[in-house]
């Protein structure tokens, strides 16, 4: 799997520099602005990176060529999930760092608020790929991308719904009136969904003719 991850790193360095730059810019802006948008948008951008990499793989016909190397199909699938976790984890830490700076500037440091923020943004980042990957590994990256955007739209529909029904749902991270316990539960559910997605993708990919 090391070779697969190395290959994806090379592709990221070549094709995803704009995304990294955008993540960095929005994160830096977030230092002075604690609107949840500046935490969510970088994580959404980061979650697009694996989608892009899958498209480049498909364009190069890498998927069938990779089967001629000593990788199992499980390893090929797992490398994408691990890469996604690493990219989103790194982006989340960067965003948290910006929020720490924001809190320190505003003399408003809240440790539990930070954990909640980390849980929320990582959950938001993991959901679209968790939704998309099984479609991609079963049907190809084009249909997978369609599923990704569908999941993406669904997420914002849900967010808009929560805003409608919760009068005091602030969009300021430090003032989010959402108790910590539900956030932890949602975080664990999302991680469970990611794990289920991983399992399904392996099952689908093992049966697929490439």
């Amino acid at each position: 799997m090391k070779g697969l991850l190395r290959k994806d790193c090379y592709l990221m360095m070549k094709y995803c520099r704009v995304f990294f730059l955008a993540v960095l810019i929005f994160t830096i802006v977030g230092i002075k602005n604690d609107q949840v948008f500046f935490a969510l948008y970088p994580i959404v951008l980061s979650s697009i990176i694996p989608v892009n990499l899958l498209s480049y793989d498909e364009k190069a016909h890498w998927n069938s060529y990779a089967c001629t190397f000593p990788y199992t199909r499980k390893a090929i699938v797992s490398s994408k999930y691990i890469l996604t976790l690493c990219v989103l984890g790194a982006s989340s830490l960067l965003i948290i760092f910006a929020q720490v700076c924001n809190m320190l500037i505003n003399h408003n440091f809240q440790l539990f608020g930070l954990f909640s923020t980390f849980a929320v943004i990582l959950s938001c980042g993991l959901l679209p790929p968790a939704f998309m990957f099984p479609f991609t590994f079963k049907l190809g990256s084009e249909k997978g991308r369609f599923a990704y955007y569908t999941g993406f739209v669904l997420f914002f529909v849900i967010l808009a719904f929560f805003q409608e029904v919760t009068d005091n749902l602030s969009l300021r991270i430090t003032q989010m009136a959402v108790p910590h316990a539900p956030i932890v539960i949602v975080f664990l559910i999302v991680f469970g969904l990611y794990g289920l997605s991983w399992f399904l993708s392996m099952k689908f990919y093992q049966k697929r003719d490439l």
Binding site: G3, R6, H61, S64, F69, P70
Partner: protein, 285 residues
Amino acid sequence: MTTFETNALELKDLCKSYPGFSLDHLNLTLPSGCILGLIGENGAGKTTAIKLILDIIRKDSGTIRILGKDCSTETSIPKEEIGVVMDEVGFPECLTPTQIGLIMKDSFNNWDSSLYSQYLQTFHLPEKKEFGQFSKGMKMKLGIAVALSHHPKLLILDEATSGLDPVVRDEILDIFNDFTRDESHAILISSHIVSDLEKICDYIAFLHKGKLVLYEEKDRLLEEYGIIQCTKEQLQELDPSAIIGVKQTSYNTEAVILRDQIPEGFSVQPVSIEDLFIFMIKEAH
């Protein structure tokens, strides 16, 4: 004392169906130390057979043994010992040969970086140029370099010499020939360039519409079959079972025949594998 597997590759009753095409009970054996050439027209099933061997597509039925191992599951295929060159080398366009070498080093236990560098030099491949900027021939050469640089025992080549100029093709064929000097090595090669296969192959297999039409030692084929030029009337005098294929021209009739079933008096010329293939397929049509 080193023992080698008797057969590098054994396919028994291998079947795969698609709408409009089926690979029908393919039986092939590739002894160690030999080169098997797989010939067939477009859509005959050559690439399908190769993809089934590598588990890129799933077989409907049949068994595959590679280097003595039963390959019923994905993990049982000894990919460390197989070098593959497909008709399309599937590296992402942005990768350079140097990066590809590092990826392969992380992929294969037996990766030989110095051998890889040697092949890059032999094939005049620039190490820092992106794969997407390579010509078709250069891409194929890189694929061949990668396939050879982890000391495989079995090479599987699907149209590996297509897109190469004649000089380079000749060099590559020499490399393939040298590869099988080691009795534990073997090559399965499919190609439209039948003359290439005729140069290096020990065994020839003809595929037509998913069926194995012929599988024989190359030298025996060249001994058994010949080509005659005669009139239509002379052809009609011959035993039909001796005639493999016929081509009518404005001037005469050409026929590929079984030498030992032709009466004396006919001038039988040597037949090339390419002619044998063309006549057989035309007859099948």
